[in-house]
């Protein structure tokens, strides 16, 4: 049954489809070598990325370190 309650939509990507998503970002002009974690500044690849978002028009990534993920989600708060 559908309810009228407003829900927080979170987009999710399957671990096996993460590479395709990553490539789509690369195809937008961002080479993989330059993609770094927004929090810890380490290199992010399709293997170790945990989350992403768009901030001020720029796509930013987060690595799979739990502390980075926590801070990343926090930084996106509405």
């Amino acid at each position: 049954m559908k309810t009228n309650e407003t829900k927080e939509t979170i987009k999710i990507v399957h671990y096996k489809e993460a590479e395709a998503l990553f490539k789509s970002i690369v195809s937008l002009g961002k080479p993989e070598g330059e993609i770094i974690c927004y929090i810890c500044r380490t290199k992010v690849t399709s293997k170790n990325f945990k989350a992403l978002t768009r901030k001020s028009g720029k796509i930013i990534f987060c690595c799979d370190n739990p502390e980075c993920y926590r801070l990343f989600v926090k930084s996106l708060r509405k």
Partner: protein, 364 residues
């Protein structure tokens, strides 16, 4: 097993009528499950889990993951006691499909999370519980909270949310991999965390502290963080902590008055005192009203095992407690905001039944 035997007994006794009643009961249970979006998500998740185990198809795995996570988290959220409002919002999970993946560009501030295989579902649940709490709970008040305090609240909110799922593996995973490492590694967080844990053990974290913080955030309505707001919030936590940490016979402050927050708390805990007379509580309630409290909480603790030991006293206690609330509603101009019954542990680690009622005084 006993229920099954009882059902068979009823069918044997009433035959056709018994069967019809049983059928109606089954239809009722099925309808209730189907009409509840979260419960039906959990069942859908179970179905796709079986399908995934049998066929090893990615589509079945994805459907299992998303239905199971959203069903469990949204249902757990409903079970969290937050007064009238459920503070964290429900979540809706949407897969970025393979075909979309080739050209997908997230919207501004839209969170995209990579999930793990179905075999690591506890990891998926905790990741999304974190997103749910951090993105949707305590909106409007976070900017005035100290960062370590905010983190301590998030940690305990996520812990509470996961514990409501009722799966020890998920909670254990979170405690081991997320909660404890943070508490162990961060000195700034540890102090606040111990206070929040103590408040939570008395059942006053989500039923009082968060309710008041939420209401504080609404009252402030975007006013900037100042030394005053910072001190008012710290003071509120210290106030609730002193109540939560109060030992038998100790005196704890029962009202908290600052410019932007005024609350009163009545603790009804000593059986002998309640059985003697409720007048001291009525007087204390009147005093809180005189201090212009915006909300007055009546928190009562009965002894969990009093019934087994002394049924008469337990009955008398319950009667006096009910009478106290009747008197409050009759003698004062107040509106009952919510009433939550729960069980918790007292300072000596004994299990106690408790009730938290929030009254809002009506001033002309």
């Amino acid at each position: 097993m006993n229920i099954l035997l009882e059902i068979i007994e009823i069918i044997e006794k009433y035959r056709l009528l018994g069967l019809i009643l049983l059928l109606i009961l089954i239809i009722f249970i099925l309808l209730r499950t189907l009409l509840d979006e979260d419960k039906s998500n959990i069942w859908r998740g179970k179905f796709y889990k079986v399908l995934y185990k049998l066929l090893k198809k990615r589509e079945a795995e994805k459907r299992y993951i998303s239905n199971d996570v959203s069903g469990r988290l949204n249902l757990a959220r409903k079970q969290m006691p937050f007064g009238k409002d459920l503070i964290p919002k429900s979540i809706k999970l949407e897969w970025i499909e393979n075909s979309q993946g080739n050209s997908y560009v997230p919207r501004e501030d839209e969170l995209v999370v990579k999930l793990n295989p179905a075999e690591a579902q506890e990891n998926n649940i905790t990741s999304l519980a974190q997103a749910m709490v951090q993105r949707t709970a305590l909106i409007g008040v976070r900017y005035i909270l100290d960062k370590p305090l905010e983190d301590a609240m998030d940690l305990n909110l996520i812990k509470n949310l996961l514990s409501k799922i009722g799966n020890r593996t998920i909670l254990g995973w979170y405690m081991k991999n997320e909660y404890m490492p943070q508490v162990d590694q961060r000195n700034d967080l540890r102090n606040w965390n111990s206070k929040i844990v103590e408040i939570d053990e008395r059942g006053l974290f989500t039923r009082l502290l968060l309710v008041e913080l939420d209401s504080y955030g609404k009252n402030l309505a975007g006013r900037p963080r100042t030394i005053e707001t910072e001190s008012e919030i710290k003071g509120l936590i210290e106030f609730v902590f002193k109540i939560a940490n109060k030992r038998y016979g100790e005196v704890a402050p029962l009202s908290y008055r600052r410019r932007n927050i005024k609350i009163g708390v009545l603790l009804v805990g000593e059986t002998s005192k309640v059985l003697w007379s409720i007048e001291p509580y009525i007087n204390a309630f009147a005093m809180s009203l005189n201090k212009e409290a915006k909300a007055i909480y009546v928190v009562s603790f009965s002894k969990e095992f009093l019934k087994e030991k002394d049924e008469e006293s337990e009955k008398a206690f319950e009667e006096m407690r009910a009478y106290l609330h009747k008197r409050i509603e009759k003698d004062f101009k107040v509106q009952k905001d919510f009433e939550l019954a729960y069980s918790c542990y007292d300072i000596r680690g004994r299990r106690r039944k408790a009730k938290c009622i929030r009254y809002i005084p009506i001033f002309k």
